[in-house]
């Protein structure tokens, strides 16, 4: 029997399998940030241990940083302490840090690929659940807790039980106005927020093959939102072309050697998955969420489900609570509903292609007066590129506020918060209660759908807008 892509990479990284227990899995690259690392540094210091392989860890500051005036000292004292602590820890332990002010700084899952650190066949971990993003390059990449960060510090390994494998095949052409964010929101709505728990997912099929690396990253990024341990896509020419020439990419003979290895990374034709799902790309509409978990999503022009129609008591209660929090009624439509905020950013949709997509729709138009629009590039390099291409001017003319790189309103740890009771169309990945600020109401959607709402001030079917222009 053939091997899956997941099995090939997993097997190559098992140092040892504990009898009746997990495996000792070797980690090639470890990303850290200010929020989930301080306790791990403290942990190894308390044990009197050095970092085992400091050169395999890369740090950035993203979750907690301000996105305005980054050159000034951080005002929030607790945030400042956390960021300062990261600087001190990295210095002390010899870890490369792309912190505030560095041209490489940005959201950890944006900078890894952008710098060419993320490469096919690797195992990658980070104390952050959206580490699954890196799977777009054909890696086993997954989020870990702080105790596990400490394990990687101490041994460059984690203890992991092998997950089951699932393949999701998506074939055919996407409708106009439908982008990769819609694909993943559609999948999660189909299989629920826990539908892939216990699995590692491989995305395959002609639709996936046709996507750019950045679009693939958006899909892998949200694998965790259906409970999956991670998501991955087999590398191909698109992948190699993306990596070539980047700061950390192999050069010369090393490139040829790496490429030869990468070309062996695919699921064999006779490999068997524990679960398999097939999706027709033409069935996917522009998507939006109406509830408080990413599984509660629907076609932008659909009606919100009514609670009475749900048989399972727990699910019914769950939907009721979600709709109460969101201030929405079952049976109604979201189309045409006013929104007060639009947030374009996060490790799901803050890369240059996302910004280009938004700029293309927004060019020559102005935002609606009743909407505040915040656009937060995923990294300093994205911001720089947007400037080179003149996208920043398009946004400024449209009345968008452009901020500096960071997680920002994706999780509302810094001052970028949505006020209680107000609606925000967000290109981020979580619509949990209070995620964007206490009482904030999040509607997850694609950058195109977000941009459309910025212009009209209401939830809008972007297909209508594309038609107009």
């Amino acid at each position: 029997m053939g091997k899956t892509l997941f099995d090939k990479i997993w097997d190559a990284h098992v140092v040892k399998k504990i009898q009746d227990g997990p495996s000792v899995l070797y980690i090639d690259k470890h990303f850290i940030h200010e929020v989930t690392s301080p306790q791990a540094f403290k942990g190894i210091e308390k044990r009197g241990l050095p970092l085992f392989r400091p050169q395999q860890t890369i740090a950035t500051a993203d979750h907690n940083v301000p996105t305005l005036n980054q050159h000034l000292p951080i005002k929030d004292l607790l945030s400042k302490m956390q960021v300062d602590q990261l600087i001190e820890n990295c210095e002390k332990h010899g870890v490369e840090l792309y912190g505030l002010g560095h041209p490489y700084q940005g959201i950890v899952h944006v900078i890894g690929p952008e710098l060419g650190i993320t490469q096919p066949g690797m195992t990658i971990v980070c104390g952050d659940s959206h580490t699954s993003t890196h799977g777009a390059f054909g890696t086993i990449a997954f989020g870990i807790g702080t105790s596990e960060v400490e394990m990687v510090f101490a041994s460059q390994c984690v203890l992991q039980s092998k997950p089951k494998t699932m393949r999701i095949n998506i074939d055919g052409h996407l409708q106009n106005g439908v982008v990769s964010k819609d694909i993943i929101l559609y999948i999660i709505a189909q299989i629920s927020a826990s539908g892939a728990t216990g699995y590692f997912v491989e995305y395959a099929g002609s639709t996936i093959r046709s996507l750019s690396m950045e679009a693939r990253m958006t899909i892998c990024n949200m694998s965790i939102e259906m409970g999956a341990r991670g998501g991955m896509i087999a590398p191909d020419d698109t992948t190699y072309a993306y990596i070539k020439g980047r700061a950390y990419a192999p050069k010369g003979a090393a490139w040829d050697k790496a490429l030869a290895k990468w070309q062996t990374l695919y699921s064999d034709a006779d490999a068997v998955f524990d679960a398999e799902i097939n999706i027709n790309a033409a069935d996917i509409p522009p998507m939006i969420t109406y509830g408080t978990n990413p599984g509660l999503g629907m076609a932008i022009d659909a009606n919100i489900p009514v609670t009475e129609a749900i048989m399972h008591e727990g699910e019914k209660k769950n939907l009721q609570q979600a709709l109460t929090y969101m201030g929405l009624t079952g049976g109604s439509q979201l189309l045409g509903m006013p929104v007060q905020h639009v947030f374009i950013g996060s490790c799901t949709n803050s890369r240059i292609e996302d910004l280009r997509l938004v700029a293309e729709l927004v060019k020559g138009r102005k935002k609606h007066d009743n909407v505040k629009v915040m656009i937060v590039p995923g990294s300093q390099q994205v911001a720089k590129q947007a400037h080179v291409e003149g996208l920043d001017r398009i946004f400024a003319e449209a009345g968008f506020q452009i901020r500096q790189a960071g997680c920002s309103a994706c999780l509302g740890m810094n001052e970028d918060k949505i006020p209680a009771g107000e609606y925000c169309i967000s290109t981020s990945n979580r619509n949990f209660e209070g995620r964007q600020g206490a009482g904030a109401r999040t509607l997850l959607a694609s950058p195109l759908t977000a941009a459309a709402a910025a212009i009209t001030g209401v939830v809008t079917d972007v297909r209508a807008l594309i038609h107009q222009s």
């Binding site: 403290k42 807790g145 105790s147 041994s155 728990t197 408080t292 999780l411 740890m413 209070g434």
Partner: protein, 194 residues
């Protein structure tokens, strides 16, 4: 890590599904650089009105003094969302030693176990049976036997626990000690795969 062998306690019921890590501990409380003190902000936004500790919401279970105990019982898909271990720290710091649900998110389950908080997965029927109990009823969790029992009725179920994790829990060992003991094998791996 503290060893856990047998737990006999009343429980706190939270019959809500998809309890995510942002509810367990909201992001704005993640600015600490130590593991302690998160318990006071456990379920912060469900517990207090207007983010004000002087305004506890009377209908939330942690504010109802009749409910107490070392065990939290929650609806399906508990701990979904982020990888923040702060969620496990908050539960531990508050005083919970075990969480019972019919389904747990993967990363949360690992994080909980790494901190000696036992996630116990039971069937949906068993979960509903617990929710139907009185406040004074107790549950017994036996780690060595991998059983959970409703003491009043004797209703019992087995739960899964990987043998390695079980040894760790019973003895209070943690994974880091184990990994450090594997250093020679890890260095050998690096040599062969360098």
């Amino acid at each position: 890590m503290q060893a856990l062998q047998i737990l006999n306690s009343t429980f706190v019921p939270l019959p809500i599904e998809n309890v995510d890590t942002d509810q367990i501990i909201p992001a704005r409380f993640l600015k600490a650089t130590t593991r302690d003190g998160f318990g006071k902000n456990l379920f912060r936004d469900w517990r207090y009105a207007d983010d004000d500790v002087a305004k506890p919401k009377p209908d939330f279970v942690l504010n109802q003094s009749q409910y107490a105990g070392d065990i939290l019982v929650a609806g399906k898909n508990f701990g979904c969302g982020s990888s923040r271990e702060h969620a496990a720290w908050a539960l531990l710091d508050y005083g919970f030693k075990a969480v019972i649900s019919s389904f747990f998110a993967d990363i949360f389950k690992n994080n909980a176990l790494n901190n000696g908080v036992l996630p116990v997965t039971v069937s949906d029927q068993f979960l509903q049976a617990i929710f139907a109990l009185n406040v004074t009823d107790t549950l017994t969790i036996n780690v060595a036997e991998q059983t959970i029992t409703i003491d009043a009725t004797g209703l019992q179920e087995n739960f899964e626990l990987n043998p390695y994790k079980k040894t760790c829990l019973l003895n209070g060992y943690d994974d880091i000690d184990f990994l450090i003991s594997q250093k020679a094998a890890i260095e050998q791996y690096e040599l062969e795969n360098g």
